[in-house]
């Protein structure tokens, strides 16, 4: 602190920072990226360990015997499903009642803002069926949830069969201390959303549902089961939920511990664990796994039915049975035993899962990167913005050129400066608001005038508004301040850089992956853009690094990571559907990525576009 109170040394420090600003920024950017890539390197990560004492060991004797019977139930469910062409509500109610559960149903309807072409649904009407296993001598204060979606076609019949089998087996045990809710939800996430909103009596998305009749108190944990074959080769754990929320790491640890104990092959992001971390391929495998998690988390959408639980502070994960061509097969009894073990451990919980991390990345199931390790990567990127802001501030306060006349002149300039800063801010935000509002509002008009479907109309309107935004604001300031000054763009850039820093900082705190990906692309833009750089080249770079293009690259990159590369044509279609899904996620489940991009990030980026075309 003596450093700052001494004017000479302060001056020296500031001049050092301004003189070496560009090299420091470059170094920081490199270091940030390198740090991030290093996170996947196994020696730098921590092994997972169980923090919750109540779930400490896997010392549970799993006895679930009835895998075959569960499969038979699944087949019966499938035939009933085909018979009624949808959810066999009556059959499920009877089946659950026969297993000694208290059974309730919930009806729900939802009209989507525009047709969802991926899932082919618009007016959704469905029924959730759930049965509650009342724990003996428990006062209905705590509950666990096991859910299986009733999917169209032949999917997930085995999951429902296993769910009913487990219900029957669990019902005969005396040791339950928490009620267990067995839920079969129709229309996957929409049904789950309806059920959760009904259970907590909230309505965040304007869905119609009938109130629930039976409850089990506060839900402590939930697992969602997806199983579409009689035998599986591996179980995949899905953690990413709405808005990039993750369940407590102990839930993943629990799954991993029981997989190890029972001998089930377990994966995360569909990637098998490997031991050769010191080889290049082993490292790239870990990077791929982690990048997949980052991409999924950044998307902010629920990647399984569990994703919606997280909003209610219920730790939840989805288990997906995968059947590939590997030799080692696992039968349903074993999966049942795995689930039994997990539920018995969750049943032992005295408190909500809270001991372990809520913010983490997983390069493999056995290793994790905690928030303390990954945040510096983002911090190194964010510090660039602060350095640029410092640089600009210094340039603004020190009379840069001796040609400046005097105090009066400066004040006049700052007076018009406020206006010249405010106008682009307001205009770019209005453009952002248009991007948020117009696609849904104008879909009917668009369908009338152009030969497109509603979904296409929404997506194309969004892209049109986005592109129109590029043309709009960069001319405006001249009308206001009359003349573009050096001072003007510096003030605007200072504001924009600080705005971006705050925006990215807040985003990264909530959803690190989204914040980091945005920082990767937007920070270089924010750092180098001035009105003096070559226009055409810079404009091209700016467009390439804009949020929309980031999304486009992410789509291709994600496909690449999943080892399902697509051609540009398919990629473009995928890109369009991703946009429509993003908008739908916002309206159906309350995902915040679309409004964040439309209302904050895009206007912020427009400010830099404005600076480029200042003169």
């Amino acid at each position: 602190m003596g450093l700052l109170s001494d004017p000479n040394r302060r001056q020296a420090l500031i001049s050092l920072l301004t003189r070496l600003n560009a090299p420091i920024c470059v170094v920081c950017y490199m270091a940030g990226v390198a740090w991030f890539m290093g996170l996947a390197f196994e020696p730098f990560t921590l092994r997972t360990y169980m923090s919750e004492n109540a779930m400490g060991s896997t010392m549970v004797e799993e006895r679930f015997p009835a895998g075959e019977r569960a499969l038979a139930t699944g087949r019966e469910f499938a035939s009933q499903k085909n018979k009624v062409d949808g959810m066999p509500v009556d059959w499920l109610v009877k089946a659950m009642q026969a297993r000694g559960l208290e059974v309730f149903t919930q009806r729900f309807t939802r009209t989507l803002p525009f047709p969802d072409e991926n899932n082919e649904r618009y007016m959704v009407k469905g029924t959730n069926v759930y049965g509650i296993l009342r724990a003996p001598r428990a006062p209905r204060t705590e509950a666990l949830v096991l859910s299986a979606p009733c999917s169209p076609g032949d999917n997930n019949n085995q999951a429902v069969g296993l769910l009913l089998g487990l219900a029957q087996y669990f019902r005969n045990q005396i040791f339950w201390a928490k009620d267990i809710i067995f839920l079969v939800n129709e229309h996957d996430l929409i049904g789950m959303q309806a059920w959760l909103e009904g259970y907590h009596h909230t309505n965040t998305t304007g869905m119609d549902w009938s109130p629930l009749q039976g409850r089990g108190g506060s839900i402590q944990a939930a697992l969602s089961l997806e199983l579409s074959s009689d035998v599986i080769t591996s179980l995949d754990l899905v953690l990413e939920g709405l808005n990039g929320q993750l369940p407590n790491l102990d839930l993943a640890n629990l799954f991993y511990a029981f997989c190890q104990k029972i001998g089930v092959l377990c994966t995360i992001q569909g990637k098998l664990p490997r031991n050769d971390w010191d080889s290049v391929s082993g490292y790239s495998h870990a990077v791929q796994t982690m990048m997949l998690m980052v991409m999924k988390q950044a998307s902010g959408r629920p990647w399984g039915d569990h994703g919606l639980f997280l909003r209610y502070h219920i730790e939840a994960a989805t288990l997906k049975g995968i059947n590939s061509f590997r030799q080692h097969k696992t039968d349903t009894t074993t999966i049942g035993r795995l689930l039994e073990g997990m539920y018995r451990k969750l049943n032992n919980l005295l408190e909500r899962l809270h001991q372990s991390y809520f913010f983490y990345l997983m390069p493999s199931l056995s290793h994790f990167v905690s928030i303390g390790y990954y945040m510096p990567a983002f911090g190194l990127l964010a510090v660039i913005l602060l350095l640029r802001a410092l640089d600009l501030w210094v340039q603004l306060v020190t009379p840069a050129a001796p040609t400046e006349d005097g105090v009066v002149d400066v004040e006049q300039q700052s007076g018009s400066g406020v206006l010249s800063v405010l106008t682009p801010l307001v205009i770019s935000h209005l453009t952002g608001t248009a991007l948020y509002m117009l696609p849904i509002r104008f879909q009917e008009m668009a369908v009338e005038h152009f030969p497109v479907s509603e979904t296409e109309a929404v997506v194309l309107t969004a892209i049109a508004v986005y592109t129109a935004g590029l043309a709009l604001p960069h001319n405006t300031h001249r009308f206001v301040s009359g003349e573009a000054t050096e001072q003007g763009w510096r003030v605007l850039k200072l504001v924009a850089v600080l705005y971006l820093a705050v925006l990215l900082g807040c985003t990264a705190l909530i959803n690190f992956s989204l914040g980091f990906i945005l920082a990767l692309t937007l920070v270089p833009v924010a750092a180098f853009i001035t009105p003096h750089v070559p226009k055409v080249l810079s404009a091209f770079v700016l467009v390439v690094l804009s949020p929309a293009c980031t999304l486009l690259f992410s789509v291709f990159f994600f496909q690449e990571l999943q080892e399902m590369p697509v051609s540009f044509q398919d990629g473009w279609l995928l890109y369009l559907s991703v946009i429509s899904q993003g908008i739908l996620d916002h309206f159906l489940y309350g995902s915040l990525v679309y409004p964040l991009i439309a209302l904050m990030v895009y206007p912020c980026w427009l400010l830099f576009w404005n600076i480029l075309f200042w003169k």
């Binding site: 602190m1 109170s5 009642q97 003996p136 006062p139 005969n172 009596h201 409850r215 408190e351 809270h354």
Partner: protein
């Protein structure tokens, strides 16, 4: 104000029926005269000869005589079978009873009732020192703390009204204690505090956690059940501990209060390894003064110990739908408690008149009818004081074998549930749903909510709606909470329209506690006790209003004033609410971090504020300084 008083008087009127054992109850209102007043110790002659087991074929005659009274099968030679009656201490009496109700779900409900009556006066200064059947520890508590009435229950589990119907005696999960003190007591709160600590010792329970933060004084919901018309709720204290866990350690002291302990009679069945292998377990002690006869000339103290347990079909291991005393309790009965004047087992066979639902062995010739919860129930009666009951095996093992299997939800006339709505740790909403399933009658209910202070209720958000319309409560008694001192108390009299759900909602804010106020497991959540819904529910059959009649113990607990309605009290689920909780594993980090920040921040700020900045003289060069030293030595003016 006048309106308030008016509504209050309406409530009092409405509840008057519960409050008083009416002394002057005219005999001519009862349909038949074939009963005897329950003068506890006068040797009872059998009411009718037909009631005697000798009359094997007189099945229905035996029960039709006393419309509500059971077949009074007291043997004449009862005294002969009782050892110790030679001591001239004739004023006490002990009765024991077990009611078994097979439930539609295949579960089975067993309710024990033990009643000790003692004609004595603990109050008027006379020192009672000689105890016979009445437990001394309880008697001392009554006299020391000037207790008028004491009701305590320990319950593990939640009564599932939708599957099991109404219990004989309702109780909330956890521990519940409510006490009426004598109106001579001056320091009620002090007495209450001492009493809870003493009871905590007697029952080995954590009743000492009852303090002012969870004690309320309900104005209308809890009226004295014994002979007393005191309605000044200053002498009433009510508290629940929803978190209390009931186990063997609470059962043992409870059993010790019984005259026969667990040595003989029905109490041999009370083996904890079976009682706690069940879906529901509740034990209670009720002490109250009651009338000895219909004129209420003499009063006596009643100690009623009840134990309710529901055994679960599925977890009992075997898949067969079959219950026996041995399967339930891992014991059979061989004798009655020798000290008991009456010892009976009742089996509810109302739904099974022709034996088509289940089969009951051994069959019994005795039948009894009782009007219970607005319904006329038929019971098979086994009188344990009769040797013939035990048959040739010298042991009684009742066997109930189900013939059909059907488990459907019931629609009890009154049913309530409660939950917390909303998400996040800032605010929330408590929803209480009350179902009136009566097809055409509406009836009023009294809702009592006692909410801890750390949920700050927003009373302006209180809404009561039924069928989508606003339902204005006719009486509201609200006592706001004081932080760390007392809870919220909300009592409302609400009219439930027929065949619909009435929903009461109130929003709350979660308080941030001081860090020492958190429990050792703060992430478990904090409990909010059950709401209590008390109501007079319209009855299908005429209720028996004569309280002094000889009736089965299970049917005569709540006094009944009107023939057309009966009293029901139901409890909702307790709530588990998460409060904003700091990360308690972080204190060390937090302390280090804050100390560093404070030190650095304060230090530098102080430095900047207090230091005076001056332009420093450029220091002279080395040569100049050397020259100055030399000049100084020479005594010349420095440069």
């Amino acid at each position: 104000m006048a309106a308030r008083r008016c509504s209050a008087s309406v409530v009092l009127l409405f509840l008057c029926g519960l409050s008083v054992f009416v002394a002057a109850n005219e005999q001519n209102t009862t349909p038949t005269g074939g009963y005897r007043a329950a003068e506890a110790d006068s040797p009872r002659t059998p009411a009718e000869a037909a009631g005697h087991p000798a009359a094997e074929d007189g099945r229905w005659e035996a029960t039709e005589v006393g419309d509500a009274a059971p077949a009074d099968a007291e043997p004449d030679e009862r005294d002969a079978s009782r050892p110790g009656t030679t001591v001239p201490q004739p004023k006490d009496d002990f009765q024991e009873e077990l009611v078994i109700r097979p439930l539609h779900s295949g579960d089975i409900y067993a309710s024990f009732q033990f009643r000790t009556l003692w004609e004595t006066d603990f109050m008027k200064g006379n020192k009672v020192s000689h105890y016979r059947l009445f437990p001394k520890s309880v008697g001392q508590v009554i006299s020391k703390f000037s207790v008028r009435e004491l009701h305590i229950s320990f319950t593990q589990g939640y009564w599932r009204t939708m599957q099991w119907g109404q219990p004989f005696l309702p109780s909330p999960p956890g521990a519940e204690l409510w006490v009426w003190f004598q109106d001579t007591v001056t320091d009620v709160d002090g007495m209450w505090k001492e009493l809870t600590n003493v009871l905590s010792g007697i029952f080995c329970a954590s009743l000492n956690f009852i303090d002012s933060t969870n004690t309320v004084q309900p104005s209308a919901s809890f009226k004295p059940l014994g002979i007393d018309n005191v309605t000044d709720h200053r002498f009433l204290r009510y508290a629940t501990l929803p978190r209390e866990i009931v186990c063997t350690e609470n059962l043992t002291p409870w059993k010790k209060l019984l005259p026969c302990g667990s040595k003989a009679g029905l109490s041999v069945l009370l083996k904890s390894e079976k009682l706690f292998h069940s879906s529901f377990h509740s034990q209670a002690v009720h002490i109250r003064p009651v009338c000895q006869d219909s004129e209420c000339k003499t009063t006596s103290w009643e100690l009623r110990q009840t134990l309710n347990v529901v055994f679960d079909l599925h977890t009992s291991g075997q898949g067969k739908r079959e219950w026996s005393l041995f399967k339930m309790f891992s014991r059979t009965l061989t004798e009655a408690c020798p000290l008991a004047s009456s010892s009976k087992i009742y089996i509810d066979i109302t739904d099974n008149p022709e034996g088509e639902l289940f089969e009951l062995t051994p069959a019994t010739p005795l039948l009894s009818q009782a009007v219970l919860m607005g319904d006329r129930r038929t019971f098979s009666v086994y009188d344990l004081t009769q040797q013939i009951t035990f048959g040739t095996m010298r042991s009684l093992n009742l066997l109930i074998r189900w013939k059909s299997s059907e488990g459907h939800m019931l629609r009890p006339l009154l049913h309530a549930e409660r939950y917390v709505a909303g998400y996040g740790l800032q605010a929330g909403e408590i929803h209480t749903l009350m179902y009136n399933n009566h097809p055409y009658r509406s009836f009023p209910v009294l809702l009592l909510d006692s909410v801890p202070w750390y949920l700050r209720l927003y009373v302006h958000t209180l809404t009561v709606t039924s069928k989508g319309k606003d339902n204005k409560p006719s009486y509201i008694h609200y006592q706001p909470s004081k932080d760390r001192e007392r809870p919220h108390l909300l009592e409302m009299l609400i009219q439930l329209p027929p065949n619909c759900v009435t929903e009461v909602t109130v929003q709350f804010e979660r308080a941030l506690l001081k860090w020492t106020e958190y429990t050792p497991d703060p992430n478990h959540g904090f409990y909010v006790g059950s709401s209590v819904v008390s109501s007079l529910v319209p009855s299908i059959v005429a209720m028996d209003t004569n309280s002094s009649l000889e009736r089965p113990l299970f049917s005569n607990f709540f006094p009944c004033k009107e023939e057309s309605s009966y009293f029901v009290r139901i409890y909702t689920e307790p709530l588990l609410v998460n409060l904003p909780t700091p990360d308690f594993s972080m204190p060390y980090n937090v302390i280090c971090l804050t100390c560093t920040v404070v030190a650095v921040g304060y230090g530098s700020l102080y430095n900047l504020l207090t230091r005076s900045f001056q332009i420093e003289e450029p220091s002279p060069g080395l040569a100049k300084r050397l020259a100055n030293i030399i000049r100084k030595m020479r005594g010349v003016q420095p440069l």
